[in-house]
């Protein structure tokens, strides 16, 4: 088993390294799908350059990363510029490790839960019970998915700062599943500081560790203290609070309408100016509005809740990139046992593949050939996002179905009549 891991780690690293050093990279690294104004390495370099020249970085409109990210990148670029590729690959490998650890913790938990609830299950639920070997395979597939997902490879090879975010996210999820309240709070604070939207992971964290009040207090304390420290340090580094408007203000008000795989840019180029604020609020709330209903439904499975939230924020955030998509998708093999119940795998698969191929084509037609327009590209990104939403709803529904079957048996009968479960 270990050997297999070593092999895929090596292959994953090689894939990244190969892409980084091939001529393809120049075509990939500034793709709008991969590099957004928030995570583009070009902008990081510009920020570091301006900072080095003594020009206030957050006063201008180029750099929107956090001050700590700027400081770290500055260190990387100044002192480690020859090893940048290696560092980014290493970060991705560490992320993988965290994901694997998180996944295996989760499978152990699943098995424990299954053991506890076994008595309550229906008599004919044996067939769909979890098996340890299967789950172990799932964990392995998580690693493979992250290492070989084209989305994460491209994102890493383009040196986007999503690589940092993903590492922090993986660490947060691991801490959550392990029940390390303090570390969970701290790492959640870090990742929230870095890209704001993951703040919604606070809810699954509390659900996970909510059984003891002490850990909840711990989470909040460590979260708030870390946030405070981070802001304090940031204002010291950047010499003021201007970074808040340049980073979080930028994320929330989305002034840069460069096309990306999200939904904001197209709407806001066409918006009447006096409705702008209203729609901004609507769009941003969209990313968080599902937290409460999902948390109610999935209160017993915070990990699945986290996945759903990660997927939704990857769709509804103002500057999404493929790196975010690749991250949550690589977690999907954990729920290998739900695949049986997925109804739209074919549709979603086709949509994802076709949009991933069509997106760059439409973009090229629009920008370089001038034979298409923004509508074409937007249509593709819309389909891509729809596919993601389908995927998440399908998965959640599969979970619900499986729970039903566990408790009610695999035969679906209502009043003696065969019935179907439908999501309505």
């Amino acid at each position: 088993m270990i050997r297999n891991y070593i092999i895929i780690y090596f292959l994953g690293a090689m894939a990244r390294f190969f892409l980084m050093n091939s001529s393809l990279i120049s075509a990939v690294k500034n793709r709008v799908e991969v590099s957004t104004p928030l995570n583009s390495w070009l902008r990081v370099k510009e920020g570091v350059f301006l900072h080095g020249q003594g020009i206030p970085v957050y006063n201008g409109g180029v750099y929107h990363g956090t001050p700590l990210e700027l400081a770290i990148s500055e260190l990387l670029i100044r002192s480690w510029s020859n090893y940048l590729h290696i560092i980014f690959i290493a970060l991705d490998l560490i992320t993988t490790t965290f994901l694997v650890l998180a996944a295996s913790t989760y499978t152990i938990k699943l098995l424990t839960v299954q053991k506890q609830e076994r008595k309550l299950y229906s008599t004919d639920a044996d067939a769909i019970l979890l098996k340890e070997a299967d789950l172990r395979r799932g964990v392995f597939l998580v690693a493979a998915a992250f290492l070989f997902s084209p989305y994460s490879i491209v994102s890493c090879a383009a040196l986007t700062t999503t690589t940092f975010t993903n590492l922090l996210l993986a660490a947060t999820i691991y801490a959550m599943l392990k029940g390390y309240a303090f570390w969970f709070g701290a790492s959640l604070a870090l990742v929230t500081y870095q890209s704001f939207y993951p703040i919604c992971l606070l809810v699954p964290g509390i659900l996970e560790m909510g059984h003891s009040k002490k850990s909840v207090v711990k989470i909040f304390t460590s979260f708030l203290v870390t946030v405070y420290l981070l802001f304090f340090v940031s204002s010291e580094i950047s010499g003021g609070w201007q970074f808040l408007t340049a980073t979080y203000g930028f994320i929330l008000s989305a002034p840069d309408l460069t096309p990306n795989i999200g939904l904001f840019w197209y709407f806001f180029t066409e918006m009447f100016e006096h409705f702008r604020l209203f729609f901004l609020a609507t769009f941003q709330i969209n990313a968080f509005v599902y937290v409460l209903p999902l948390a109610t439904k999935l209160r017993k499975d915070p990990m699945l809740l986290s996945l759903a939230l990660l997927a939704l924020t990857a769709v509804f955030r103002s500057y999404p990139s493929l790196g975010d998509v690749g991250f949550y998708m690589s977690l999907l093999p954990v729920w290998k046992h739900l695949y049986l119940y997925l109804k739209q795998t074919f549709l979603v698969g086709c949509m994802l593949v076709s949009t991933s191929v069509l997106g760059p084509i439409m973009y090229n037609l629009w920008i370089f050939n001038g034979s298409a327009n923004a509508n074409f590209y937007f249509a593709v990104t819309l389909a891509f996002n729809t596919a993601q939403i389908f995927l998440v709803t399908d998965l959640l529904f599969a979970h619900v179905k499986r729970q039903y079957h566990l408790f009610n048996g695999s035969k679906l009968e209502v009043d003696g009549q065969p019935a179907t479960l439908a999501l309505e």
């Binding site: 500034n30 510009e46 201008g60 460069t258 920008i367």
Partner: protein, 560 residues
């Protein structure tokens, strides 16, 4: 192309107090204000080796009285009451918006340059912006130009480029925060701008050289530039009589080939579709100069009538000869149609290149953001000396520049960034000012990579098929010796009429004593009254702006 330079002064209570005191003082002395008005009109015609004919009109109004003297010497706001030759419509603007120096030019075609002014006192930025905006709107009204498109996103205050050309308080010479520069590359220049410009002349178009300014030949020219420059200057060395100078000038480059015989013949009638029939009765000087350098014996072309007076100045490559016609004498005998006749057909030879050439173009393709596209600037120094130039880019915010990619293909030590203002979306544009040292006989290339922002539907300029225009870059060079003198200035001759030496020039002298890497004194495209200073042994700076072949870049819009 439009440019406005200006210096603003803040309104303060202190200020009014001073003015009040001055008024009392005048009451006590109680003398009649000493009026001093002068107007001159001049035209320089220069046949160019490329077969074009370059003509440059210059109308100068000088004005001084006690109040103006007071304002200039004490660096106070102008307060005009009784206007004579100076146009009131313009004077009111200057007075209302606390303008110290103003340069505006409206140009169509390549080959453009602009001069600038400087600020004096710090002022609160918010209020200042508004003042600026109102001033711009007032000027729009005066010149029927769409200067109202000027806003905070295209207004900048460069650090080194554009130093005040008039008298400035030396202690403020380092402060650029009150100077404003802006450019509108899209502006079309047409008759509607010419008419109000002509109205500012004391003789309007009723008589004098301005009667030659008919719209049709003007707007069919290859290059056309209308400008207005106001600055305070000194008539004498000790600056006992400071005056306010208003120069209205118009430059034209035309090509008048008779296709059939291929001669470069020109006459006043063929250039301006009318001969000269009168002089402005208010002008002290009304002259036409023809550049006859390399044609002193009138062999290449013959002038009819023969010039009554020829003046030669300079030596070597800087030698210039001008044929001078006094219009007053000539128009007495009816319409005066100056003619140049070439016995031979025009031969297109190799034209000696100017010492400094700059060209700018866009590389890359498509409408991609990111690093694909870049502005490439080529600076060619073809003279045997090392040149230090200031390069200024003022770009709109919707280009996202990546300065870390900008590089000169040269050792880094030969350039330094003197001012860099990063753009903020929809709020302010880019300002990039660098000082570059160009080795002799070399070509320096600079690249600035940029991406493009997607604009909101209302932010696209009208006529989207034009794409976007971005303003010209500016390269400024102060030339040390006469040998670089690229162009003969008519003011040279005017020095008899007027000897000008501004305090500001003195402040530049002081600056030049500083170590050589200090590039703080730059650009001045015309040197005035230089000859006088040379005699006194003062190092004279010939500030001649090189011809810029900087092209306007059109960037095509992202079609949504």
């Amino acid at each position: 192309m439009n440019v406005i330079g200006i210096r603003m002064r803040p309104e303060t209570l202190f200020y009014f107090n001073i003015i009040f005191v001055v008024n009392c003082f005048q009451l006590i002395i109680g003398s009649v204000e000493d009026y001093n008005n002068a107007f001159s009109e001049e035209l320089l015609i220069r046949p160019l080796p490329s077969g074009h004919v370059y003509s440059h009109f210059e109308f100068t109004t000088l004005w001084t009285n006690k109040r103006i003297k007071e304002s200039i010497l004490n660096y106070k706001d102008f307060d005009f009451v009784h206007y004579d030759l100076f146009p009131r419509a313009f004077g009111e603007i200057v007075e209302r918006y606390h303008v110290r120096e103003l340069h505006l030019s409206l140009t169509q075609g390549l080959w453009r340059y602009h001069k600038w002014g400087y600020p004096v006192v710090e002022a609160p930025p918010g209020a200042q912006l508004w003042t600026w905006k109102d001033l711009v709107n007032a000027l729009s009204g005066l010149f029927c130009a769409s200067l109202n498109f000027i806003d905070s996103t295209n207004t900048v205050s460069p650090e080194l480029s554009f130093r005040p050309l008039g008298i400035t308080n030396p202690s403020y010479s380092q402060n650029s925060s009150l100077m404003r520069y802006t450019a509108l590359p899209r502006e079309n220049v047409c008759t509607e701008n010419l008419t109000p410009w002509k109205k500012l002349l004391p003789c309007d178009t009723k008589s004098g050289l301005s009667t030659l300014l008919h719209p049709t030949p003007l707007y069919s020219a290859y290059y056309h530039s209308l400008s207005l420059h106001m600055r305070p200057i000194c008539e004498d060395k000790d600056c006992r009589t400071p005056v306010l100078e208003l120069v209205q000038s118009l430059s034209l480059v035309q090509k008048l080939f008779n296709e059939m015989d291929g001669r470069q013949d020109w006459t006043l009638r063929s250039l301006f579709s009318a001969p000269l029939i009168s002089v402005c009765p208010l002008s002290k000087i009304s002259k036409i100069y023809v550049d006859i350098t390399e044609n002193e014996n009138l062999e290449i072309f013959k002038l009819d009538p023969l010039p009554p007076n020829v003046e030669t100045q300079g030596e070597g490559t800087a030698k210039r000869s001008l044929a001078i016609y006094d219009n007053l004498m000539l128009v007495k005998d009816g319409p005066f149609n100056l003619q140049a006749r070439y016995p031979n057909k025009h031969i297109y030879g190799i034209i000696p290149v100017p010492s400094l050439q700059v060209s700018r173009f866009i590389t890359g393709h498509g409408l991609e953001r990111g690093s694909i596209r870049s502005i490439t600037v080529k600076l060619v120094n073809s003279c045997p000396n090392q040149l230090t130039v200031t390069y200024l880019e003022v770009l709109p915010w919707y280009l996202r520049l990546f300065f870390h990619t900008s590089h000169f293909l040269l050792p880094e030590s030969s350039m330094y960034v003197s001012k860099l203002v990063t753009a903020r979306d929809r709020e302010r544009g880019w300002l990039y000012e660098v000082v570059v040292t160009l080795p002799p006989h070399s070509t320096t290339e600079m690249q600035l990579e940029f991406g493009r922002a997607l604009l909101k539907w209302l932010e696209y300029p009208p006529d989207a098929n034009h794409g976007f225009y971005i303003p010209s870059a500016l390269t400024m060079k102060k030339l040390e010796s006469k040998s670089f003198l690229g162009m003969k200035i008519i003011d040279k001759l005017k020095s008899k009429f007027l000897k000008k030496k501004s305090k500001e020039e003195e402040s530049k002298e002081e600056l030049s004593q500083k170590p050589s890497e200090d590039p703080k004194d730059k650009d001045k495209d015309e040197d005035r009254g230089g000859g006088e200073e040379n005699k006194k042994g003062i190092t004279l700076r010939k500030r001649v702006k090189e011809v810029h072949s900087i092209k306007d870049l059109a960037i095509y819009s992202l079609a949504v």
